[in-house]
Symmetry: C2
Subunit: 526 residues, 2 copies
């Protein structure tokens, strides 16, 4: 609680400080209320009144002034994005709530420079603010985990660390992800208030179309945290877990429809002669986005089971997205990437303390809560930030792991309850776990998959005769973790984690940046 | 899962059915695309282009067509509320997603009838749809509770029913509210998609200002469910629990600011000569709304501890709000009351199965999850439905209970860990529980409170000499539950529940309707 209070107090103080500074620094000559612009709006308004047959505008939803401001808002936004001078200085009374610096700067660039920096002083302030509260949030998480650990164990939220010699001796607290997610949500609630504080004066247009994005994003994330935590506490059946993210992503899809509703994809150059320049996917695009939500939510959860792996990969993905956002912040989709940035900074800051405590040997476990939380956050950012394809590239190791898991997930090959590596107590190293079954039980498709992944070295299998003279197959389980153990022999758990992190870094991040900034030119026009 | 699938399938089927029916029934002569109206919009648009100095509108957020539709939307809304003819028949292609009946009716009423019914055919459809999925949701809850009960007990989410003779023998599953809340959230996600489905064609204006209300409401509720469930699993400190609802209500306040930002209250007639006709509360109004959120979230939780009480009072409040909404649906704030209706119907439908199983003798407990969930739902509805004052009237018993609890909550009088009634095993009836302390430890304010509540018959206290010849005070605990037991003598738990329900009904609901529809005329102009 003390920490929460600190966050709130720091937020309010910074808010007050900056707004005071902004008032003395930016709000000059308040009498010059951009009169010409207001007149224009007046004119539009008059025309409108004319067109609705003289009906007195009494019960309309927005008051007249707000409507004017709305018109004005669209102008301002357009001008901002075209690099036009923005001179609106009025409407900054302290009447409603406290005032904020707002967008009072004057950009004077040529109309033709579409790639002008669209991040203004206020956006920079919000980023700095975000960084500060994220750091505070991280510190809070760092303090809360050891404080609450015992409470979790008492509430039966604990597990044994199976990859250790003394595994059955120590109870390790589970579901610590809920602490991260809780603090993340608190930070984001404060962040929303800050981001939209520039519109907190009575004559401002409130950008509802932006606001819905934040709310829908947080709603989906919050639902997944709830689902994850409920799953940790009472095991939820896998088919419920599979489809709930889809329902939780419904608001996201609606927001996408409301704000963009473009479902047209531009095809890469090589296929254009055959399929045309672009395709309108229509409803299929929404199905695709739903699938992204489901995939991302579960992707992290199925590449798990080794100390530090779940948080480690999330932090690497989040870091990569952060770098990607920072690069793209100079581009024409700056607003979307700013949106993403606001989520990534607290995610990283709150995850790092958990990573430290979850790293081998794990002091705490993250639980499904963390996996769903991080996964859904990425999905949300990808969908609303308009880079779901790039986001999927960051998930390449997870995609490979998923494809590799398909034979076992869909029962082409028998799947044991757990596919975690096996500990060799003598060496204190991990071996790939395996599964045994009769060769005659294997269907042709299963056999094909076995052969394919064996040829591509992802698994190792051998045939032998059992006592009843039946041909048996013994194969390592179909996960990247076991594949790594096949490639590099028995490994200590920490070394395994490091290698998996390296794979994430190389095949998730570096490869993506290579594809996104180098390879892309061969497929799309710049 | 089967139930979820059923809900989704029924939703999609109904959607398709109604949209097919609507297309054959309402969408006549698609060539007559309300040409005059579009021309008007064209005109406005031309004027606008003229006024922004010929800047080519390329990077503006909404495409030109959407902007026109936006203008059109405002017209349509205004006309709808003024009872003007609405004739828009165009734009209903099945291109984007499937089509919906939309607002294709023609209301032809006099412009002067401000109280014309503003609920149209589509709204009626959504209400019917809401009722149907709510019933399905209720059935699902009814099936899920017995299915999941054992899982909750296994997850250490259980408690003893202290007011029973055999209390220590049976483990009763706790936190069943999370099932209700989960199904409620799923229903509301589907509901959102249905409510906004009329805007799911590419040329529609998407009413973001309405959409934010739903999202903010669900976000706040979802956060409180998470908090409640976390509180059930790992006890959270009371000061965290006290302030988190405030943070969770931040988006609500922003939505209120964005959509209404009126903070002016009209004063009742008797005080107008002294204080004026109206007051602009400014930021204080937001503080008030925050307080409403905090109060409602905790109000149900502090009037608890008897079988069926938490759900019972919630169902009565929800039912009263429902009736209030249905009455007001004919008024000028129909849209807000429709919004409230969408939440109340599933809340009641999902709560009733829980009430049946929580009624004396309780088969399951509801947990903090349910209390926070129901409380926050009421707070959200009150704030965004613009009847927070009426909502508080529905909470009269809770307010009295809170005021009665103040001396113990704020330690003017010693507060034991539990203030539940005491079971008399011989009679199997409940007696008021009590607390003993030395008279000399009592501060003057505490003494005053003790005397006041004793005179008003809410508590019973007596003084006596202990063995050390010190004057001791023995007083019943300061809760409505104990007060009822003071008034009516020892009662069986079920009878106590019934009386408390009656109090809720009389002092919560009937009194409110009396105040709201009769007494109000003496204080405000009609």
């Amino acid at each position: 609680m003390r920490y929460l209070q600190q966050i709130v107090i720091v937020a309010v103080l910074m808010q007050l400080l900056v707004s005071t500074w902004a008032r003395t620094r930016f709000v000059r000559e308040p009498s010059l209320v951009a009169s010409s612009l207001w007149n224009e709006i007046e004119e539009i308004d008059n025309n409108e009144s004319g067109s609705d047959h003289g009906v007195v505008d009494r019960s309309t939803f927005w008051p007249s002034k707000a409507k004017k401001a709305y018109h004005y808002g669209m102008e301002e936004r357009r001008k901002k994005y075209l690099g036009e001078p923005v001179n609106f200085q009025g409407g900054h009374s302290l009447q409603g709530l406290w005032a904020m610096p707002g967008r009072h700067k004057t950009i004077s660039m040529k109309r033709t420079t579409m790639s002008s920096p669209v991040i203004d002083r206020f956006d920079l302030f919000t980023i700095v603010f975000n960084i500060i509260i994220s750091i505070i949030g991280g510190i809070v998480v760092n303090r809360l985990i050891p404080m609450l650990k015992e409470k979790f164990i008492k509430a039966q939220l604990w597990g044994y660390d199976l990859n250790k010699r003394n595994s059955k001796e120590i109870k390790v607290a589970e579901s610590q992800g809920v602490i991260v997610a809780g603090i993340f949500l608190v930070l984001m609630f404060i962040m929303i208030a800050i981001v939209f504080s520039e519109h907190l004066h009575p004559e401002s247009d409130f950008p509802n179309h932006k606001f819905v994005e934040y709310l829908a994003a947080l709603l989906s994330i919050c639902c997944m945290v709830l689902l994850g935590f409920a799953d940790d506490v009472i095991d939820i059946r896998w088919n419920v877990k599979l489809w709930l993210p889809m329902i939780a992503s419904l608001p996201l899809l609606l927001v996408y429809f409301a704000n963009y509703h473009s479902t047209t994809i531009i095809l890469p150059k090589p296929v254009r002669p055959y399929f045309g320049q672009q395709w309108n996917l229509g409803i299929l695009y929404y199905v695709y986005m739903s699938m992204v939500a489901i995939f991302c939510t579960h992707a992290i959860n199925i590449l798990a089971g080794v100390n530090g792996l779940e948080v480690g990969q999330s932090v690497i993905i989040a870091g990569s997205v952060l770098i990607f956002n920072l690069i793209e912040l100079q581009g024409i989709c700056a607003e979307e990437h700013l949106f993403s940035l606001y989520f990534m900074i607290p995610l990283i800051a709150c995850s790092i303390p958990l990573l430290i405590r979850n790293w081998c040997p794990a002091e705490v476990f993250v639980g499904d809560t963390y996996c769903y939380f991080a996964g859904m956050t990425f999905a949300v950012i990808g969908i609303l930030g308009h880079f779901s394809k790039t986001m999927l590239l960051f998930f390449i190791p997870q995609i490979i792991n998923f494809l590799l898991s398909v034979p076992q997930l869909f029962k082409f090959i028998p799947c044991p309850r757990h596919r975690l590596p096996k500990l060799d107590p003598a060496l204190n190293k991990l071996n790939p776990s395996d599964v045994e079954f009769k060769k005659k039980d294997l269907k042709p498709l299963g056999w094909l998959m076995l052969r394919f992944f064996s040829l591509t070295k992802f698994i190792r299998y051998r045939e032998y005769q059992n006592n009843d003279n039946e041909t048996m197959i013994n194969t390592t389980n179909f996960t990247i973790i076991n594949s790594v153990l096949c490639w590099f022999g028995p490994l200590h758990e920490e070394k395994l984690s490091r290698i998996l992190m390296l794979i994430q870094l190389v095949f998730g991040s570096l490869l993506t940046f290579f594809v996104r900034y180098y390879l892309v030119r061969f497929f799309y026009d710049s």
